[in-house]
Symmetry: C2
Amino acid sequence: MAFGVDERAAQVLRHIVEDYVATAEPVGSRTVSKKMGQALSPATIRNIMADLEEMGFLAQPHTSAGRIPTGAGFRFYIDHLLLRRSLVQGEVDRLNQAAQEGVGNASADELVRQVSRLLANLACQASVVIVSRPDEQRLRSVSLMRASADKILLVAVMQSGYVQHRLIEGEPDVTADELEKINAYLNGLAEGLTLAALRVRVRAELRREKARYDRVMHRALAMGARALADSGPGEVFVEGRANILDQPEFAEDVQRLKRVLRAFEEKSVIFRLLDRAMASQAIQVSIGPENPVEELGDVSVVASGYRQGPSAMGSIGLIGPVRMDYSRVIPLVEYTANLLTTMFGQR
Amino acid sequence: MAFGVDERAAQVLRHIVEDYVATAEPVGSRTVSKKMGQALSPATIRNIMADLEEMGFLAQPHTSAGRIPTGAGFRFYIDHLLLRRSLVQGEVDRLNQAAQEGVGNASADELVRQVSRLLANLACQASVVIVSRPDEQRLRSVSLMRASADKILLVAVMQSGYVQHRLIEGEPDVTADELEKINAYLNGLAEGLTLAALRVRVRAELRREKARYDRVMHRALAMGARALADSGPGEVFVEGRANILDQPEFAEDVQRLKRVLRAFEEKSVIFRLLDRAMASQAIQVSIGPENPVEELGDVSVVASGYRQGPSAMGSIGLIGPVRMDYSRVIPLVEYTANLLTTMFGQR
DNA sequence: TTTAGCACTCTTCCTCCGGGAGTGCTAAAT
DNA sequence: ATTTAGCACTCCCGGAGGAAGAGTGCTAAA
């Protein structure tokens, strides 16, 4: 066992974490002793607890209350002690079903949000999703459409089913006919490329076309280049906020509830966390005090990326109070992310 | 003054409402007497208050606390006593600016949500928006795009700038070329019609085309008819939930906070309320207990429709605890809705 | 009809106190 | 050298009791 935590201490820590997760109350030495089958007396447990506290894994709300795990305590538990609870079949079924429904008749966005909502309810936490900037995704088709007298809308459908819009300003005098031609031309270029690759491609073509003079093509490329220039900052969806309201720790402590709810609004920080999970393609757990900003000090984020084939599509996860049942939540998030990856594989 | 409420009683009610809105505390006779310039003694005020309570406009949390307005009290205040506070220039400026920015470089959706977010912050309430089913909106252009091996995406851009997707299943063997032709044909039909009208038009064409045999056209129409058949249930966006967290009435009463937050999740009920505001094209105020479901018993919704030219586009408003400053909030919502209408008029 | 006066009601905020939970320490037991 | 029993101590929690304050309703006088 790492960090000078011997096996016995680790088991004590495990029981404290699990009891605290279940009850939201500080855990005393007597309780732990019982849970461990009386193999050790409360007094011994107390000694171990004192050690664990010294190492920073436990804290006491006040003298003569039990101990509660600190952020570091949860971290150690997750990294070294977690026994993954296997998912209940019913949960798996419901997730699969939601995904099947979604894949049939919804856009990629809808599919993801539907699954996310269900995940939130199953885990009794809020759920959180990001969709990656589509720069990395492969295109299925593109279309330029007249949006107003002087604006054109570029619609790009990714192979994942994700749909992306970009508004191009100041193109008053392109005719419908020309738009059609441009569409055909762009589609020829685009299919199978990523948006980023298309951007490069379009720029190259643009240079080449400068020589021969073809007004329409030049237009097409210039517009394309413009539309592809910027990529949005990405969005965060939070679903199922209400799921956390019944946690017992909020019954008296309004302040904490407010802090957690405010944390849900920290979209840009949440985005960074999920983005990291997406990049690593492994499940990521950020525990309260580990988070980069103070505002998220009371919440944990458990997230995992999902892909289409080899390319990252986004990240899905849960956000809620630090005291969450990681043994249940981590497999759940993992399964859900894999499910999305499977679903997108079928597209 | 209606309902047997004489002028004096009305003024008393007004002061009670306003004081309660400002302080979140029950209001006593002494306070009212002072506010009214000592014209009436506290004892007299007490008599009037007893009358108002009998009429159902006031309530006492317990004997010997002051009075607080009931739902009916707020209703009477809004209908008969409200002195609209004129907007602060700074607020107007910020709204205008947000709208100008949005109209320039964002889709209709984005524009509306941006304005909504700002509205929420200005009012210190949560804001809420719906976008109407686009059936009633006029089309600018449509495009069919290949979305996957056996699916096609219909993208419709409305004259408002609002973009609508419909997924059509089971069209594996339409070629890119055919799609282009179909696009051209549909666009010819569609421009300037509403989706509903297009639906009718397409069905008519479909009957006519049955006679002469043109495979592509028939395809186009069949697909069009299918895509247009259903119209989604409409969406509700809630922004700025965190704005209400600091209301003093929540400092001790967690239950009430939870109820209000849960109310924010009652999307379908909120939708109905906003839809009503959209239909009536006048500002609508729904006060707590008036609401159709118990879950919204603690919140008020203030909403107003916005249009593009003559056709309803959606509805925007605020949702928050019943105790809100209607004299400020109502003009604010009204202004915002008009602003959106103006913005969409420029499209 | 209004108002001053007054008794009454309730909440709120102290403080005090006992019970209980849990600890840390020490000394004995293994 | 560990483990454990015993014990004193600390701190939270809940209830009791009481004083202060706010506000009311009623009555009788202006």
